[in-house]
Amino acid sequence: MAKMKFLCDAERCIECNGCVTACKNVNEVPWGINRRRVVTLNDGVPGEKSISVACMHCTDAPCAAVCPVDCFYTTADGVVLHDKDLCIGCGYCFYACPFGAPQYPSPQERAFAVRGKMDKCTFCAGGPEEPGSQAEFEKYGANRLAEGKLPACAEMCATKALLAGDGDVLSDIYRKRILRRAGRPETWGWEKAYGADV
């Protein structure tokens, strides 16, 4: 069984923000909401590293564990999604998330036509509506997975630093890279998201 994962290769990430605007583009994410963002550590000094971060679609998603209305679900291949009709915008998931993925438009504003509900990266897999429907796009954005495509952020990554897809394949690709580099691995966030044995 495939398990969808993100992997950001910090050796290759150049903080070009291509993933961020790719997400804006395909999901039409409104101004003020950033499902994905690039974080830079040690900015401007040797050791500077950039990492593109969004919802990591964790195996035992902490967001789902704390949700008081149980609006989270996981697809067969491990994509963590939520139902905005149920979401009450309480913010628990934001506290639980180790990656700061959940976003909250202020109650007066509408993001994806839904007031004050949590919004996050969907792995370009929409939400609990008919895949590819207008209703789904309005609430959750694109459903590329249903079209046989992968998240736009990773597909458009300038340097192929951000990978998205079946975790086993990602591991293979990444293993080949580190074999070539013979350096320390830079799979930022993997242990946190998927457990220590990945």
Partner: protein, 67 residues
């Protein structure tokens, strides 16, 4: 006779009413914490299909190929 019947019927009715109040529905909603409560997403079923997964695996190889 009639009144006697009434005397007997009224308490019986009250008891029946009381008993009705004690009825327990069999369709009670039990809150299972951690179980998804939202609308179904057809993608959940789709994503279990090996063909769907294979399509995405091939896509990934295409995305990441350096040719």
């Amino acid at each position: 006779m009639k009144t006697r019947f009434l005397f007997a019927a009224i308490p019986l009715g009250v008891v029946l009413l009381l008993l009705t109040g004690c009825y327990e529905s069999r369709d009670v909603t039990l809150h299972d914490a951690g179980v998804y409560k939202g609308a179904p997403d057809p993608l959940v079923e789709m994503s279990a299909d090996p063909a769907y997964q294979e399509r995405l695996r091939e896509r990934l190889l295409m995305v990441q190929t350096d040719r």
